[in-house]
Point group: C2
Chain length 323, copies 2
């Protein structure tokens, strides 16, 4: 049995707790949190204070770090990797090399393994981009996200004065996807690839027109997109727009000899983004423990790990059944 600790218990941590129940070779030691443990409502796991983590060193094979990329993981992953094998979902793209270097040094010094930046993007989408580009070097890779809820954009809406609550969907332009798959060569702008749809609950007395204008012109978040805004009631938002679906497509269109077209497509359609991301983290937690058992210490990403390390099934059986 692989003994797992969850560090940080928000939506992702809860997803990991749920995923572990589907993996009979893994058992959950507990949830470690900065909050008062007695205030944390889990799905059955025991909650401990974060400061008790290191004392449980002998009971834990791997820590799945479920904090945020902005402030938690840059500190937590190197710190906890001093004592434990770890997995994180660090997704601040520009800082991944720096994060990798910091964690790699700690892991090598302390004879641990850390798998950083897992999940689906970065993660499964990254490795699909790699496979596709290596196989069809004469080609183009396109990544589309959605239809799904963007937490960052929803938060940006909620920060606007006069908005009580909001959900933002990122919507891929399916017509463009179909044209690319049919072999058209397109030069795409940000506006071509995705649409943004906002469901907004106003505070009393707020001005629809003014707020719409403020949304669609917001730099970085909305101004480069075609954005539609719907004003609805809090009841409607709660009923229809509080789930966290997401997904997306990695599309690679290449040519082999002359103009022979070859298309590789990888698609995710997820009813729960945090639960799916959690499931990826759990599979890579298994890989982390195995790599540590083989004394392959250091930091890893999904690009560095052979597929077989993710499965609980022995490789002879995998060869027999999956090849």
């Amino acid at each position: 049995m692989i003994k797992v600790a969850i560090v940080g218990y928000g939506n992702l941590g809860r997803g990991v707790e749920r995923s572990l129940k589907q993996n009979p070779d893994m058992e959950l030691v507990g949830v470690f949190t900065r909050r008062a443990p007695e205030t944390v409502e889990t799905d059955g796991a025991t909650a401990y204070h974060m400061q008790d983590l290191v004392a449980k060193k002998n009971e834990i094979d791997v820590c799945i770090l479920c904090g945020g990329s902005a402030t938690d993981l840059p500190v937590q992953t190197p710190e906890i990797t001093q004592h434990f094998n770890t997995v994180d979902s660090f997704d601040t793209h520009a800082k991944i090399p720096e994060h990798f270097a910091a964690v790699d040094q700690v892991a090598k010094e302390n004879h641990t393994v850390s798998v950083i930046s897992t999940g689906w993007d970065p993660g499964l989408f990254s490795l699909n981009r790699l496979y596709a580009q290596a196989i069809l070097p004469q080609g183009e890779t396109y990544t589309f996200w959605g239809k799904g809820v963007s937490q960052g954009h929803s938060d940006a809406l909620r920060r606007i004065e006069g908005i009580a609550d909001a959900t933002q969907y990122t919507i891929p332009n399916t017509e463009i996807i179909e044209r690319l798959k049919a072999g058209e060569k397109l030069t795409l702008t940000t506006r071509d690839k995705h649409l943004r749809e906002c469901f907004v609950v106003l505070e009393e007395g707020a001005d629809e027109e003014k707020i719409t204008e403020e949304i669609v012109t917001m730099p970085n978040y909305f101004s480069d997109y075609d954005t539609t805004v719907h004003f609805i009631s809090q009841e409607e938002l709660n009923r229809d727009h509080k789930a966290a679906p997401h997904g997306g497509t990695v599309l690679h269109t290449g040519t082999t000899h002359e103009n022979t077209k070859q298309v590789i497509e990888y698609r995710l359609d997820l009813e729960s983004n945090p639960e799916f991301t959690a499931s990826v983290l759990v599979a890579y937690a298994r890989a982390a423990v195995r790599l540590a058992n083989e004394k392959q210490f250091g930091a890893f990403t999904v690009l560095d790990i052979a597929p077989k390390y993710l499965s609980p099934i022995d490789v002879e059986t995998l060869r027999k059944e999956l090849l």
Copy 2:
């Protein structure tokens, strides 16, 4: 530069020759054939007789074996792996474990690397089955092939008395795929998953009705499927049905907490099956050479090889650009 030899020069070998031209880190030493070399028309490569292969040992980093699975590869892969790193596309499913064991022993004894059973199925589809099942253990994996030409079924048609020429398409049942993606749980028979469509040129005086009956009732090949038969002229067959498109879908539908649905889909849409398969072999040839440089000798499959080994780009750049 990685120096490559092509062993066997049919459609697949020709595809490898074409693919190598798209990979600037690789160069083709020559094509090795059992035929008289002067009778082999290549796309520019020098043709040598197979018996001259071993003498060129110092000029070759990896041999891409392009023979057939029925009789060539079971003999050639172990034999050539005594002297060279090799890659093959051995696809006789039931014999893969045996083939792996034989090649692994030779490779370990001779300090070489052999990547067996690459291509797209077995190959890319196998690793997608693995990733999906490891991430969503509570789920079902479905593989659909086509729309594409099945050489085996086309050959079976051509063996029928009264048939001059024929092409057979395997067609996935897209309605079933859509229902599975929508979350339906279906128990599928062979007949439900694929249709078979035959384009047949008759010899003079052959009886359409009798031949149709013989086709649709042919055990193993057609009797378990809904099969349609079209009789056309040789001109029409040559014009419209002599390409080798193929493709398919690996669909994994899983659930995380309770009934939260998650769908992973991997799709290939290929205008040339042999050229795409060749492109996969070439990427794994690069991996074979790198594994040999790291002295990781033995047999490998796609399940055993980390994605980074396939790319000509260094891993720091991959982390920066693809994650």
